[in-house]
C-alpha cells in the first residue's frame, strides 16, 4: 500500500501545481495587450460587434468568474474550443466578422492530441541522441578528473552550449539536407523528418548531461566502496559499468526528467525553424493569434506532464537506490 500513499501524495501535489500554473497563465493572458475578439472577428469588424461577441463569450466578465467557468470545464475534461482554429487544424489569420465557420472551431483537446505525439517522438529521439553523445564523453571525463578527457568533456560542453539552436538548425539543414541530401528537414511526412531537429536538440541538451555525469562519476569513483571493489577482485570494467555508472545515474535521472519535461513543454524555436508540427509550433501560433483557450490548454497539459514525469523519475531513482525515500 506504500505505493498508493506515495502516488496519492504526489498526484495531489501535482494537482495543486497544475491549478496554480493555469491560474497564473489565465490571469496573465487577460492582462497582456491584444484583444482576441478583434483577431477572431477580423480587423474590419465594427466595434459594437466586437463588444457583442466578447460579451457573448463572457470575455468582459471579471477574471475570477471566467476562471471559475474554465476550471469547471477542465475538471470535466473540457479544455474548450480554440478561438481561431477551425476543426481542420489550420493556422488561420483574422477572418471576417461574419465568419459562419465559428461553430466549427477545433476542440483544444483534439489539437493537443494531434500534436503532442509528434513532440513526444521528437523529445524521445532527442533524448536518445543526447545520451549517445553525452554518456561516453561524460563517463570518460569523470573517470579521469583533471586530466585530458575531463578537459575535452569541458571544452565540448562549452562548445555545444555556446551554439544557438536556431543557428545550428539552419546550418545543419543547409549542410545535411540541402547539400548532402542525407535527411529531409522541413515539415513532417515521416519519421525521417524527426532526425535533424532531434539532433539539434540533442546538441543543446548534451552539455548538461556531460557535466552532470563528469562530476557525478568522478565523485562516485572517489568513494571508498570503489577502492574496496578492486580489493574484492573486480575488474576495472566491472567497477565502472556495474557500480560507478549505476550510482552516478541518480542525479542524471533527475536532470533527464527536467530536460524531458522541458522538451515536451514545446521546443518552440526548433519546431518553428523546421516547421515541425508539434506542440511548440502549435504554441507559437496560439500565442501570435492570442488563442487563449489553446495556450491555457497547452500550459495545463505540459504542467501535468511535468508532474507525471517527475513522479516517474522519483520512482526510477528509488528503484536504482532504495535508500532514497520520497
Amino acid at each position: 500500500m506504500f505505493i498508493v500513499r506515495f502516488l496519492a501524495r504526489r498526484l495531489l501535489q501535482g494537482a495543486v501545481i497544475v491549478f496554480l500554473v493555469s491560474a497564473l497563465i489565465f490571469t496573465l493572458l487577460r492582462v497582456v495587450p491584444g484583444d482576441p475578439v478583434r483577431l477572431m472577428a477580423g480587423g474590419m469588424a465594427p466595434e459594437a460587434l466586437i463588444e457583442q461577441i466578447a460579451e457573448d463569450m463572457g470575455l468582459r466578465d471579471p477574471i475570477y468568474q471566467q476562471f471559475g467557468r474554465y476550471v469547471a470545464g477542465v475538471v470535466q475534461g473540457d479544455l474548450g474550443q480554440s478561438f481561431v482554429r477551425p476543426a481542420n487544424g489550420a493556422a488561420v489569420g483574422g477572418a471576417s466578422f461574419d465568419d459562419s465557420t465559428r461553430g466549427e472551431r477545433a476542440e483544444v483537446w483534439d489539437l493537443i492530441a494531434q500534436t503532442a505525439p509528434m513532440t513526444l517522438q521528437l523529445a524521445l529521439l532527442a533524448m536518445a541522441f543526447a545520451l549517445v553523445i553525452a554518456v561516453p564523453i561524460g563517463v570518460w571525463g569523470g573517470l579521469r578528473p583533471g586530466r585530458l578527457p575531463d578537459r575535452i568533456a569541458l571544452y565540448l560542453s562549452s562548445l555545444f552550449v555556446s551554439l544557438p539552436n536556431f543557428w545550428l538548425g539552419i546550418v545543419l539543414a543547409l549542410l545535411l539536407s540541402v547539400h548532402l541530401e542525407l535527411v529531409p528537414a522541413i515539415g513532417y511526412e515521416g519519421f525521417a523528418y524527426t532526425i535533424l531537429p532531434a539532433f539539434v536538440l540533442a546538441i543543446e541538451i548534451a552539455p548538461f548531461i556531460i557535466r552532470t555525469l563528469t562530476v557525478s562519476v568522478a565523485g562516485v569513483m572517489g568513494q571508498s566502496f570503489i577502492d574496496i571493489a578492486a580489493v574484492r577482485g573486480l575488474t576495472r570494467n566491472q567497477i565502472v559499468f556495474r557500480h560507478a555508472i549505476k550510482n552516478s545515474s541518480v542525479p542524471l535521472l533527475n536532470l533527464l526528467g527536467v530536460q524531458f519535461s522541458m522538451l515536451l513543454g514545446g521546443v518552440l524555436v526548433i519546431e518553428f525553424i523546421f516547421d515541425y508540427p508539434g506542440l511548440g509550433l502549435l504554441t507559437i501560433n496560439a500565442v501570435m493569434q492570442r488563442d487563449f483557450p489553446l495556450i491555457q490548454g497547452i500550459a495545463i497539459v505540459t504542467a501535468a506532464a511535468f508532474v507525471l514525469i517527475n513522479i516517474v523519475v522519483d520512482l526510477c531513482a528509488t528503484a536504482i537506490d532504495p535508500r532514497l525515500d520520497y
Binding site: 489550420a90 488561420v92 522541413i186
Partner: protein, 524 residues
C-alpha cells in the same frame, strides 16, 4: 505492490502501448523517395478558415482561389500593357452602352461538383458578392445599384443605370471575382460556401489538412487536364525555413523573398527567380480622423519629411519607385507631378502654417508597423521615424508581430490605434477603385478613416464616367492629384513580388498579386 514492481509493470504496459506506434516504413523505404508528385507551394501568410471568397481579403487565400476557382477573364497586368485582358470563362465582354455590359460565356465548362457553368452562376455571384454585408466589398455599388439579367444560359447583361455609374466598372472586376456556383450560393453564407471551395479552375479542392491546403488536378478542366497531379499549398511562417525547403527540393515554389534571400538564391543553379512589379503599393497611413493628422497640412508636412530614396535603398530589389496611390500596373496610373517629395523646408513651412513651428506643440505620435510578413518594414520604419524626428515630429516606432499589428490596423470610431500605420494593399485586378474607393471614400475608409466630401465627389465622378477614356482622365486630372494634395496616406513604393522556384519547374504563370496559373506547369 512496491515501487519497483509498480515501475516494472508500468514500463511493460507503456512499451505494449507504444509498440504499435512504430512506423516500420522508415526502416525499409527512403523518406525522400518521390515519384510523380504534387506541386508544393509554401506561403508566407495563413488563411482565414472560411472558404467563402466574399468573406475575406486575405492574399494567401486569394492565391488558393487562383488554383481552384474560375474567372470570366484574367489580367496579366504587365507594365507594357496594364489593361490587357485574356478571356477565360467569358468568350467576350462588350459594353453595349454606358450602362450595359454584355458577357458571353463558354458552354463547355463544369464546376468541380459536376454542375455545368451557366449564366445563372455569374448572376448569383454578382448579386451575392455585392450584398452590403459581405466583408470583401469589391463591387462599385451594392446589389441595389445594378441589375443582372440572363437572356439565355450563356449570356449575361449587367445594367448599372440604377446606380448611375458606368457598366465598364465590371470589366476589370471580371478578372478578379471568382465565379461561384448558384447552387452553393443558394445556401447562403452559412452553407457549403464557407466549408470548401467549388470552382471551375484547373485544380479541385480536396481538403484542409492542418496547414496544408490539398488540391488535385481537375480532369475536366476546360483547357485540358493539368500536367502536375495536384498542388499542396502550405503555410510556413518562417522565411528562412521556406528558403531551405526550396533549396533542398521539398518545396517547388516559395513567395515573398527577402532581398538577402534573393542574393543567396541567385547563386544556386537549381533555383530560378521570378520578379514582378506587383499590384501592391506599401503605404504610410495617417489616422485622419484624430489630431494631429486630421489636419491635411500636418499630413503633407510629414510627407515632405520623408526621403523615399533612402527607403528604396533599403528595399533593394523588393521595391519599385512609384509616385501615385496605385501600382504602375493598375488602370489610370500616372506619375503625379504634385506627389509630395522630400523637402525639409516645405515641411517646416507647412508645420508653421499648421500652428506647430518646428514640431512644437505636436502630441506624442505612435507609428505602428509589423515584422515578419512584409520585407524590411522594421528597417525602413526606423528610417522614417528618424526623418520625422529630424523635422520635429515626436514619433515613436512600435514594431509588432503580425497578429498584434493586424488587430490594430483598421480604422475605428474616433480613429484607429496609433497615429500612423504601415500596410500594403494588393488586389489582383487593374481596377484602381479596389484601392482608391476602398480606402479614401468616407463610406469605407478602411485604415486612414478619412471623411472628405471633396474626395468622395472625385471618387464618384471617376466611377460615374461613361467611358474608360473619360474615367482615366477623371482619375489622372482630378482624383489622384487631389489625393496627392490631401495625402490621407503616403504611398511609399510599389512592391516587387519575388518568387523562388525550382529550376526544373516550367510553365507557371504568376500574376502580379501572387496568384498563379499552374495548369500548364511541369516538374522535371
Amino acid at each position: 505492490m512496491d515501487r519497483r514492481n509498480f515501475l516494472r509493470y508500468g514500463m511493460m504496459a507503456g512499451a505494449a502501448v507504444a509498440a504499435p506506434q512504430i512506423n516500420p516504413d522508415f526502416f525499409i523505404s527512403s523518406a525522400r523517395a518521390q515519384g510523380s508528385r504534387p506541386l508544393m507551394f509554401l506561403s508566407a501568410e495563413n488563411i482565414t478558415g472560411n472558404w467563402d471568397p466574399t468573406a475575406h481579403t486575405t492574399l494567401s487565400q486569394k492565391t488558393i482561389e487562383g488554383f481552384v476557382m474560375g474567372f470570366l477573364a484574367r489580367a496579366p497586368m504587365r507594365p507594357d500593357d496594364p489593361g490587357a485582358m485574356n478571356m477565360e470563362l467569358a468568350t467576350e465582354i462588350t459594353q453595349l452602352d454606358p450602362y450595359r455590359l454584355e458577357i458571353k460565356l463558354r458552354d463547355d465548362v463544369t464546376f468541380h461538383d459536376g454542375k455545368p457553368f451557366k449564366a445563372e452562376d455569374v448572376k448569383a455571384t454578382f448579386e451575392y458578392g455585392s450584398l452590403p454585408d459581405r466583408p470583401a466589398q469589391w463591387y462599385p455599388g451594392s446589389n441595389e445599384t445594378f441589375e443582372v439579367t440572363t437572356p439565355d444560359d450563356y449570356t449575361v447583361i449587367v445594367d448599372t443605370s440604377k446606380g448611375g455609374y458606368g457598366a465598364h466598372l465590371f470589366i476589370f472586376l471580371a478578372a478578379y471575382l471568382p465565379m461561384m456556383s448558384a447552387t452553393d450560393i443558394a445556401e447562403g453564407p452559412n452553407g457549403v460556401l464557407s466549408t470548401r471551395l467549388n470552382g471551375t479552375g484547373p485544380f479541385r479542392f480536396v481538403e484542409q489538412d492542418g496547414n496544408d491546403t490539398v488540391m488535385e488536378a481537375y480532369e475536366d478542366y476546360f483547357k485540358g487536364t493539368p500536367t502536375v497531379p495536384g498542388v499542396t499549398f502550405s503555410f510556413v511562417g518562417d522565411a528562412t525555413t521556406r528558403m531551405l525547403s526550396l533549396m533542398n527540393g521539398q518545396a517547388d515554389v516559395i513567395e515573398r523573398l527577402e532581398p538577402e534571400q534573393v542574393e543567396t538564391l541567385e547563386g544556386e543553379d537549381d533555383i530560378k527567380l521570378s520578379r514582378l512589379v506587383s499590384v501592391e503599393n506599401k503605404y504610410l497611413w495617417f489616422r485622419c480622423s484624430k489630431p494631429p493628422f486630421d489636419n491635411p497640412l500636418v499630413r503633407k508636412a510629414a510627407c515632405h519629411a520623408i526621403d523615399r530614396d533612402l527607403i528604396m535603398q533599403i528595399m533593394g530589389s523588393a521595391g519599385e519607385f512609384s509616385s501615385n496611390f496605385v501600382s504602375p500596373i493598375k488602370f489610370g496610373y500616372t506619375d503625379l507631378e504634385n506627389y509630395p517629395e522630400y523637402d525639409p523646408e516645405e515641411c517646416q513651412r507647412l508645420l508653421a502654417e499648421a500652428g506647430f513651428p518646428g514640431g512644437e506643440g505636436l502630441p506624442e505620435l505612435e507609428y505602428i508597423t509589423s515584422t515578419g510578413f512584409y520585407p524590411k518594414t522594421k528597417e525602413y520604419g526606423e528610417v522614417i521615424t528618424a526623418l520625422l524626428q529630424e523635422q520635429g515630429f515626436p514619433v515613436t516606432l512600435n514594431v509588432m508581430e503580425v497578429a498584434a499589428w493586424n488587430e490594430r490596423l483598421y480604422d475605428r470610431p474616433g480613429g484607429g490605434p496609433g497615429h500612423m500605420v504601415d500596410c500594403g494593399w494588393s488586389t489582383g485586378s487593374p481596377e484602381p477603385d479596389l484601392v482608391l474607393r476602398t480606402h479614401f471614400h468616407s463610406g469605407s475608409k478602411r485604415i486612414c478613416g478619412i471623411e472628405d466630401p471633396e474626395i468622395d465627389a472625385a471618387l464618384d465622378a471617376e466611377r460615374n464616367a461613361e467611358t474608360l477614356e473619360a474615367r482615366e482622365e477623371s482619375l489622372q486630372t482630378n482624383l489622384m492629384p487631389m489625393l496627392a494634395d490631401k495625402v490621407p496616406a503616403l504611398s511609399l513604393f510599389t512592391s516587387v513580388m519575388i518568387h523562388g522556384m525550382r529550376a526544373d519547374l516550367d510553365g507557371m504563370f504568376i500574376y502580379p498579386d501572387g496568384s498563379t496559373d499552374a495548369s500548364e506547369a511541369t516538374i522535371g
